[in-house]
């Protein structure tokens, strides 16, 4: 299955782009739950909090899809073997990074 070869790359790219989106707030959407209102890109809170999580997911999905599609142009050997390692190493590192970013919650 040719398209399936891109799935590990999707997982790797998704983790990196998602964490970058959280850190730099690259949300493609903002949701205002109090107003039940969606808005494009990053918007300041209007009434109540603004939620960027959905926007970060969208950014990561689109970015990772593009990178995964491009990765299909790479030869299966040796890249499939490389992806099979990076597919778990990179998400683990990204979880450690987000844990480090959120450390302030646990150190207060």
């Amino acid at each position: 299955m040719t398209i399936g070869r891109a799935f590990p790359v999707f997982g790797i790219a998704f983790a990196v782009i998602y964490i970058a989106s959280v850190y730099f707030n690259w949300a493609l959407l903002t949701y205002h739950p109090q107003l039940v209102q969606w808005g494009p890109l990053v918007q300041a809170p209007k009434q109540g909090p603004a939620m960027y999580w959905y926007g970060w997911l969208l950014t990561a999905t689109l970015g990772a899809s593009a990178i995964a599609a491009v990765s299909l142009a790479l030869p299966a050997k040796p890249f499939d073997r490389i992806w099979s390692i990076l597919v778990w190493v990179v998400p683990l590192v990204m979880i450690a990074v987000i844990g480090y970013i959120l450390r302030v919650y646990f150190l207060r």
Partner: protein
């Protein structure tokens, strides 16, 4: 409405937790021979047959969680901040991020569970499955504890 969705979210999470835990045990600690004991039965489940069900349950649970999440931001998070419960608040922040990474891993998880790749990528399959199991366990326990802190229906 949110209470109904929260309970449904919790029930879906329990199903997902059971299936993923079974699969992770069978892939990390496979039984060479089925002896008929409970432990042997758990270790020798036909784990590949769980894959599609796990993906569907993961996505359904995440969608329900994404809907309930709006209520959390309006009512629960504010309460946590008022009471300076920074630890639980941070634990939930971490939950939303590790779950997102778990969602992104699902296509790769499906890919490495294909029978054609069974032997070649056995290690990758075991690690990715274990990571998803840890993510779901962490998320389940965090959500459960936060629900206890806030109090159901309060």
């Amino acid at each position: 409405m949110f209470s109904f969705l929260l309970i449904t979210h919790g029930l879906c999470a329990v199903l997902l937790l059971g299936a993923l835990t079974h699969q992770a045990i069978s892939v990390l600690w496979p039984a060479r021979q089925r002896t008929g004991s409970f432990v042997s039965s758990v270790r020798s489940v036909p784990s590949a047959t769980y894959t599609n069900a796990i993906i569907i349950m993961f996505v359904v649970t995440a969608i329900l969680g994404a809907i309930v999440y709006t209520e959390y931001r309006i009512t629960v998070r504010v309460m946590l901040q008022d009471y300076r419960l920074h630890g639980p608040e941070g634990a939930f922040e971490l939950k939303e991020h590790v779950l997102a990474i778990g969602l992104g891993l699902l296509p790769a998880y499906w890919y490495y569970w294909r029978p054609a790749l069974a032997k070649e990528y056995a290690t990758t399959r075991a690690i990715v499955t274990s990571m998803l199991a840890v993510i779901v366990w962490y998320s389940f326990l965090t959500g459960h504890v936060l629900n206890d802190i806030r109090g159901f229906g309060s």
